[in-house]
Amino acid sequence: MVATESIDGVLPRETIEPSSAEDVAATLASAAKQRSSVVIRGGGTKMGWGRTPASVDMVLSTKRLTALVAHEHADLTATVQAGARLDEVNRVLGRHGQWLPVESAFDEATIGGAIATNDSGPLRHRYGTPRDLLIGIRLALTDGRLIKAGGNVVKNVAGYDLGKLISGSHGSLAAIVSATFKLSPQPGASSTLVATFDGADALIASLAAITSSQLEASAIEVRAVSSAASGFSGTSRGYGLLLKFESTPVALNAHVRQARALAGGATCEVVAAQSEADLWRAHLRSPWQSPGMIVKFAWMPASLGAVLALVDDLRASVTGIELTGRAAIGSGLLRVDADPRVQRNVVERLRSRTDVFRHVVVLRADAAVKQQLDVWGPLGDAGALGASVKHALDPHGILNAGRGPV
């Protein structure tokens, strides 16, 4: 038994830290027998994501499952246990000049948590989300079985891809024990262009010019904040575009020059080396290090104008507003630091504009806000189908009980 922390103010009865895959499966089987509700914990960085549970019987921690099982560097693949930290894994993979291009705003984020939430960062623009890099998965089910899907090879269409199914399941279907990923070579060089605009229209015009060109950026981020956010000084006023390029050293300069020309009337700054790393770290973390509700949402890329108009509108009345997002994909986080009524209003506004905004999910909010809305929002047809899959894999409904998404 270890000390436990609360989940949305609910104190779990116990925390179990299995030390092997078999142990995870046995723990789940015994919990299922006793109909104990189980919340799975990786690094504990996203424990507040999901609905507020009525009660939690057990926290199953992957803390002791941290092995890098295999790094087949010549095959550009690696198998890692669920509890391994992303930064630790990448430190080891770096010895062979490779990495798993999955980012997290949190130091302690684990492989299992990244898959379970399918969380990603700005580099999603180039590399995709964890589910896009996952090639094999090992799962422990609530009936005590250990199963696998996929494999160790990057090209494989044998059987159902349960790794995809588990991506985004937030620990509600099965426990991830280990996972195999395809890796990427570390880029030879990188550099970032920070373009600051006075108005939304200018940003949108530059973005269109850049995404219509044949430049291949690794990240295209939009930023809009109402005041200097903690730890980030790049674009404290107006609107910012952050363009990261990764390439060979010679090609890199050409890309940045070209991007700068396309950015038009913006105020531009080129950032490289350690300041570049610091900039991205600050950008990724900035919403999480400031107070307020954090909403993840998607939009049609060409509707960025509507997103920025909403931000503008909110900036007029609320001091703590921050948008960070993948501008070319149409996906981002909106932080709203205001009273609970305003926060709820923002979520309702986003959810009512189904022509522009999709999949509006509240990731972080106070219990007072969470009580007044469904953090997941309507799941549509995926709701019933997801429930049916949930029933098939977790028939007693013990996993992430009451917290969703299924």
């Binding site: 269409v157 060409a302 047809d381 049916s388 899959v389």
Partner: protein, 483 residues
């Protein structure tokens, strides 16, 4: 079962002209691109709308009739093989491009639209649809979704599952559902991610939205000739070790090269192995990396390195590679194409086992492979007129799959399990693995009506309805040409 009353109800629901029951016409639907597995269906319905698909599926659900959705029948694993006593739902008439949305970088099509049609529609705007299976001129997007199709460029660009944003699909009870993918930020389990590649066993897709990519600024292709396969393999390993991810990396061996030269005349230099490497991306980057690739190819012992000087030259190089399967007819009366995957580093070891097998069995085995991702396509040459050779070719194919599994690989990289390899699934997965996949299947399709008998082996596990028609080994190996 499909009786007269079923057919008349189907006609009433979908229209007379959408229902095929004429024996001669039904022959068209008896197999897909795996012609040795065939079964004439009792009826085929060809709906022109999602509502038509729904009506047919609801009828099947009410009467407990299994069904298989069929695109353009180019699949290579018998995924669209009719189910005994079941209905074939042909989606060829659902062939409209519904929306070309350049500003939002997406295209929405019906499942009967061909893969290449999407690129054709967006090419004038400077865009393309990345997955490019070699059948892309004829294969349907619906089939691509079912098989999670890749193509020569999937090493860098991924598979269908990396490019589909959302679908509309008919579940086995006839419900029409909209599913967004995790790449479109749909919260919750990635249901669409598992539907893609489920070989038509979870739902029938009636609408597909895919993302499109900006055409790369530059494409450069080279061909390097080697005296043996290991030297070509060394070049591939060094390219990857240099941190370069080519758009495509292909190897053809001596046996296949003789056939290719005879059939397609690409004028390749004489060699025991030819390596094709293609890089794409921004001009400055491609130029720099390509010079590195050239150096690596020479260092690995290339006897010739030929850089495509123009589009015509590049097309000629690819013509040789893409014509490889069809060319085998020039050197052998019959051949059998296998599709297996091994970790790239295990290629030399597995190719060596295949060479030993070749010497032992007396059949020639050509090898064409996507070297970047370890996807082998051994071409087993035989003559069906020589007693026992058809059987032997089938055994040799199975033996090679075993080598792939032994090396930690997969039964299929791109052709699918379908009806063809279902019996081999226990080589790769435990009973528990398969049982859990079947539980997921039942969650989508409780009655097991959606393309039963595919992917999962017989004897069937709980909940499965009767398995597929199984060909006698002689028939099984008596292949026609695969395309």
């Amino acid at each position: 079962m499909i009786d007269a009353s079923f057919v008349s109800e189907l006609r009433r629901l979908c229209g007379d002209d959408a229902v095929v029951t004429e024996p001669l016409e039904l022959l068209t639907y008896e197999c897909d691109g795996l012609p040795h597995l065939r079964h004439t269906p009792p009826a085929v319905v060809l709906p022109s709308s999602a509502e038509g698909v729904q009506a047919a599926v609801r009828l099947c659900h009410r009467r407990d009739v299994p069904f298989v959705a069929r695109g353009h029948g180019s699949g290579l694993s018998g995924g669209a093989l009719p189910i005994p006593g079941g209905l074939v739902i042909g989606l060829a008439r659902l062939n409209r491009v519904l929306d070309v949305d350049i500003p939002n970088r997406r295209v929405t099509v019906e499942p009967g639209v061909t893969n290449l049609e999407i690129t054709r529609r967006v090419a004038p705007h400077g865009f393309y649809y990345a997955p490019d299976p070699s059948s892309q001129q004829v294969c349907s997007i619906g089939g691509n979704v079912a098989e999670n199709s890749g193509g020569a460029h999937c090493l860098k660009y991924g598979f269908t599952v990396h490019h589909v944003l959302g679908v509309e699909a008919v579940l086995s009870n006839g419900d029409l559902v909209q599913l967004d993918s995790a790449i479109a930020d749909a919260p919750g389990p990635d249901l669409l991610g598992v539907l893609i590649g489920s070989e038509g066993t979870l739902a029938v897709v009636t609408k597909v939205t895919v993302r499109i990519l900006r055409k790369p600024e530059a494409v450069q292709t080279l061909l390097a000739a080697y005296d043996d396969i290991p030297a070509a393999g060394t070049a591939v390993s060094e390219i990857i070790a240099a941190g370069i991810i080519p758009a495509a990396v292909e190897i053809m061996d001596g046996v296949s090269l003789v056939a290719i030269e005879a059939a397609v005349h690409p004028n390749f230099p004489p060699a025991e192995a030819i390596l094709i490497v293609e890089l794409d991306g921004p001009v400055a980057e491609v130029r720099e990396q390509f010079a590195e690739v050239e150096k690596i190819c020479h260092r690995a012992g290339a006897t010739t390195v030929e850089v495509a000087q123009d589009e015509e030259h590049r097309a000629r190089i690819w013509k040789g590679r893409k014509g490889a399967f069809a060319s085998m007819g020039r050197v052998t009366p019959n051949y059998y194409v296998q599709d297996g995957v091994v970790p790239r580093t295990k290629l030399p070891e597995v190719l060596d086992r295949i060479r030993q097998l070749e010497a032992r069995c007396g059949l020639r085995i050509g090898n064409v492979f996507h070297a970047g991702d370890g996807n082998l396509h051994p071409l087993i040459c035989y003559d069906e007129k020589i007693p026992g050779q058809s059987d032997l070719a089938a055994q040799v194919g199975a033996e090679i799959l075993q080598y792939c599994i032994d090396a930690g690989g997969s039964l299929t990289g791109e052709h699918g399990i379908g009806a063809d390899k279902a019996e081999y699934m226990p080589k790769m997965f435990t009973d528990d693995d398969l049982d859990v996949m079947l539980a997921v299947r039942r969650a989508f399709d409780p009655k097991g009506l959606c393309n039963p008998g595919k992917i999962f082996p017989t004897p069937r596990l709980c909940g499965e309805v009767p398995g597929p028609y199984r060909a006698h080994p002689i028939e099984k190996a008596g292949l026609g040409e695969r395309f």
